[in-house]
Structure formats: C-alpha cells, structure tokens
Assembly symmetry: D2
Homo-oligomer: 161 residues x 4
C-alpha cells in the first residue's frame, strides 16, 4: 500500500466523513505560545475514536475479541499555528484500507483555515501481536455512515445553552 | 489561607458550580489500563477554563491586561480508577478566595461514582511575575453564575443527534 | 496515616535519599513560557522509578508477582517557575510507610533553588485491585540504600565528555 | 525539497550524528502496555534539543535573536513496540537543509532493534512568524560535530556508579 504525503481527497471512506470538535487545552501549548506539534496526534486519536463510536464500533469490544489496532505509521503537516482555546474541527475519514491495515486521514480546521493535515496507519493484530485480517463486518462498519444514538458523545454547542 | 485536604463543601463559590464533561483519551491511560494520575490535572484545568468561559471570563483578555493565574499548589485524591472512553463530569467551584489567590475545587464523577477529588490554588500575578490583587470585578465574575451564550463550548450530547 | 502538607524532613526513609536529574523538555512548557504544573507529576514519577531501580527494585517483577502500586493521592506545591532545558534534581525519599501504602516525598531543585515540593501516596494492590500488604522484603528494599550496578540508569554529566 | 518516506542514510549531516539516550516513562505507555505513538515526537524533540546542545547551539539564544524553529511537518514509522523503562537510543542527524528549513532524521533503537524511525521538518521564522533564512554560521554549527564541554547534558551510565 503506497503511503500518500497528505490525506487523500478520495479513498474507500471518502464519502463517509465525520467532523469531531476538539478544544485546545492550555497544557497542549508550548513556550512559543502555540499548540505543540505532538498534540495533533492526540487530536487525531480522539477524532478516530469518536469517528468509530459514531458508527457503533467500540474499541474495548474489539479488544475482547483479541483485535487491536496500533498505529504503525503517522504523518502530520502543520499549516498554521493553533492556539489556546481554539475550537478545532477534525474532519476524519478512511483514506485507504487493505486486508490488515486501515489508514485514517485527517484535516484539522479552525473555521475556514486548515491548521494541519495528516494520516495514521493502523495495523490489525491479535493478542500475540501478529497481523490478522480485519473482519469484513468490522471494515464495513468502519467505512459506513454515522449511526443514530449509538453512544454518548461530545459535540460543540453554544455555552450555557 | 489554610489549605484543605479535600474540596470544600461550602466556600465562597459553592453556590455557583459548573459541571464540565471530559472524555478520557486513549493516550491518557497507562500500562495499568487506567487513566494515568497526572491526567486529572489536565481535566481539572480544562474544567477550570470552561468554568471561566461560561462566566464570560476570557483568559487571553486577562493576559492582555497583564494578569496571569499560575497554579501554585495542587492536590488530587484518586478514589477509583477511570478508564479509556469514560465520560467524566468535573464538578467545579471556587472553594476559597483571598486578595491575590483563588482556589478551585473539583469532584470528578463517572455517573454516581466519585472518581477523584482535588483542588488547585492559583495566584494572581503581573507580567513581572509579582503578586497582584485580583480586581474585584474579576473575582465577582469568577464567583458568579454561568451566563447565557457567552462563548462556544463543548457539551456532551448523544451521538449523531 | 495523616498526610502532611509538604514533604517530611524525617520519616522512615529520610536517611536513604536519591537525587535524580530531569531535563525539562520543550513540550513540557506552556504558553506562559514555564513548565506546566502537570509536568511535575511526571518528574516525580520518573524520580520514583529511578529511586527504586537504584535499589534493585524492578516494577515489572512486582507486576509479575501480582503487586501494583497506583498513586492514590498526590500533592505538589510550586515555589518558583522552571523553564525549558532547566536541569532539575529531584531529591526523593520515603516519608511514610504503612502496611499497605508508601508515601514518596520529593524536592525539585534547580541549583540551590527549590522549584517545587510534593509527595505521592501509593497503595499496594493485587491483580484484582484489592489492597494487599507490602511484603516486608519489598519494603526493606524500598527503604534501603542505593546499590551498586543494579541497573542501567541515566545520570547527568557534562556534554560530550 | 522532496520529503522522504524515511530517514535518509546520507544527507548533509549524515557524517555528524549524535546518539541520545531516552528512558521510557510510565506515563508514556498506554493501555496496550506499550509506548503511546505520540511519545516518539517527544523523544525526537528531546534528541534534537540535545543534538543541538552538544554543538553549542542554545535554543534560547536563537529566540533572543528573533529566530524560531517550529516543526512544520513530521513523520514517524513504528517498527516494534517499546515498553516501560526501555532505554532507547535516538540516533539523530540532519538529513536535509535548505535556505529556510532543516530536516532532522531519527532512528530510535533499543539495543540492536530499530523501534521507530522518522523525521521532523523545521522552518526558520522570525518573531512575526515570517520565513527567514537560516544564518550560515547557525547552519554550520547545526551540521558540525559534537563539541567538548559545551553544556551540561544527560548521558546513560550504570546506576550508582
């Protein structure tokens, strides 16, 4: 599977995207006054987890089935600085999938600005850390649309509503 | 100002509490399979920032006025383990206030369980890091109720609603 | 066991202290230009791990014996700001020990300045997360002196020496 | 400047490498029992800072000259899991340099195993966040060999030596 430099505009999951809000924490900034570059991997992970939750996929159920998805490769390009208390929206989709890997692509936006873009490649492994095939119904679920009411979630609203 | 071992049930801001949801991130767990104890200081900080935002207080405006609030003391007692993807609710209020310090108290709950409790003592300092008096209108705002529509915020809802 | 506000000058392990160097990372600073207050819990943990390693105690062996030491309470008082690339020395000792808990006390110094001081209370639990007695030989090891050549470790030296 | 998928075996700084030890912290692991993938960006940063310190380059002096080096792109490929208390060695060199950017390449080893490999691309900017040329003497210093006794540093030794 060739790895792109940047998120793919198309790909198997391009039609089924989710947008997950993330509020920048104070602790995620550094002495340059901007979000530390490592924080984006945390945002991407939070977005990926929420993307899956909205499709009814529960990471801990996968663990109970002996299925784990460690990150085996990651890329992030920083386009402009994000700052404390910025409300970022992480657009998330599956840019590529193979028998035993799946690549999540991300665009981090603040309003109309793209703040960062990247991807993380995940491998499906068993309890002994050997590669295993992603079960077809799991992949279908990953590539499918958001579902209604599958899990409590965090969404942005106006304050004190 | 005497420092309590635990959050105060009363105190100047006890009548004006906020409850801020925080979803546990994967990265915030450790090899014991539970939330790492240092993560709670991040949750308390996120709750404090959101508590203030709901009252119209904007940290960056304070910075522009030469007013900073570093944490000068902190305590956290862990009552039970929290885990990945738990939705915690951080009940937050001001347990004590003096001329130049303010203490935020916190209860972290998961449903009916208290997961952790603690406080952070903040000092008001100027740009030269000297102690300064908290302006009365700032303290009033801190101690007051949540306001309507003061800032975008993140609230828990059901997914895909 | 009464919990002190600050590290104890005496205590069962006061005579057997270790000093562990920690270099402040860029990512551990925040937009105030100083070390974020949560970072000190990471420094205390690194110091505690190294304190134990210097006495031949190996955390993973304890895990294999079904013995875990989660932090159940923590306190940190910040005396002055630390900054990027500061070389801190974390003086570490056991300030209190009971049948099933042990409290590590810490002083974080930069040269002659005390930057922060605090303690963490650890509980001994079994694989089912029930309290268990700390085995006497484990406590003896914890309270004893540093040993020679027990494990590779990281020590400060001058660069490129 | 084309970006490689992996660290370059050659490049302008390939002859002047440094190896920086990093001990895995407990907090850097996750519930899979391995080092969280975001931690490697912290290790790479620590290695980069130490690489520069060994050549007499002091980040804060650069800041005083109005010269900053934010990360604008990053890649990390994970080859095998690292675990708590592993002693990693981060081999660090400059894989590419242009007028206003410099790319640091990294190999993270545990003994003979390559645990991870990656790079970070840094841009030179001024106080107004505009791109600026890297001064030739700064680039020379970056590309040059380690110097003797330029700064205190942290090096691995055997314990209690």
């Amino acid at each position: 599977m060739p790895l792109p430099n940047l998120p793919a505009a198309d790909g198997p999951g391009a039609a089924s995207r989710s947008v997950i809000p993330v509020r920048v924490r104070f602790a995620e900034t550094d002495l340059m006054g901007i979000v530390h570059h490592s924080s984006y991997l945390l945002y991407f992970e939070e977005a990926r987890v929420e993307y899956l939750a909205r499709r009814g996929a529960v990471y801990l159920e996968w663990v109970a089935r002996g299925m784990h998805f460690p990150v085996i490769d990651a890329r992030c390009r920083y386009r402009t600085a994000a700052r404390f208390y910025d409300l970022l929206e992480i657009e998330t989709w599956i840019g590529e999938a193979s028998r035993a890997t799946v690549r999540f692509d991300y665009l981090a936006r603040r309003g109309d600005d793209v703040v960062a873009e990247g991807w993380t490649l995940l491998a499906c492994i068993d309890d002994a850390r050997r590669p295993r095939r992603i079960p077809p119904e799991v992949l279908d679920q990953m590539l499918g649309p958001e579902r209604q009411g599958v899990a409590p979630s965090i969404r942005p609203t106006t304050s004190s509503a």
